[in-house]
Assembly symmetry: C2
Homo-oligomer: 125 residues x 2
């Protein structure tokens, strides 16, 4: 099940079902690469990526933000933004790497994070 | 051994020693997250990321570009930009995932790619 947390003309943001705070920003149009985007979509997505990062940092105080644009399985442009913690399941490996441990993270409410994120995103658009 | 392929006031670009075309754009200053950057560095790095992507697409015609900002091991802001091919060692997994096969890629000259990349980067700055 996909949880949609935000949407506008240019992109939508889905929650990844994971043990860390992890969202994916998808272009509304079926672009494959960042280079394929019209300028407005590109700007909107890169701005959103930075807003997600900033709200994650302020809200979760993670040890590191991880960002990725892969799309090898799903060639529809999307940006992963993840809050990483030293005690999460994979740190310091990427979330696509080898699992290091069972996660015992106790995280603040994702719903409250989404509320703050949507406020910031709405202020920007 | 690190191969430096480009440098300016805001960032430098190193070649990753890999079986695919793979470069890393590092901030000159020891920023940890994209949010920590001054505006000029942030713009310069995100512009460079897009130029690297575009030149890789035009030069190598890969099946997909992969971009990542992790920095869990090295908390010094850097952007990985990779040209991915269906027959590369890890596709469709990320380069941090499980190896799928031995790579038998026959790639065009990396030196010529660097030449084209540096021309584009110099035109932009």
């Amino acid at each position: 099940m996909t949880t949609r947390i935000y949407e506008n003309t240019y992109f939508y943001i889905d929650k990844e079902d994971a043990t860390i705070p992890w969202v994916k920003i998808f272009a509304q149009k079926p672009y494959k690469e960042l280079s394929d985007c019209d300028e407005q979509t590109k700007k909107a997505m890169l701005d959103a990526m930075q807003i997600v990062e900033k709200v994650m940092l302020d809200y979760y105080h993670p040890d590191k933000i991880n960002i990725a644009m892969f799309g090898n399985y799903v060639p529809h442009l999307h940006i992963h933004v993840m809050a990483r913690f030293k005690e999460d399941s994979h740190f310091p490996e990427s979330m696509w790497g080898i699992k290091q441990r069972d996660s015992k993270l106790k995280l603040a409410s994702f719903d409250s994070f989404v509320l703050q994120l949507c406020q910031k995103l709405s202020q920007t658009n």
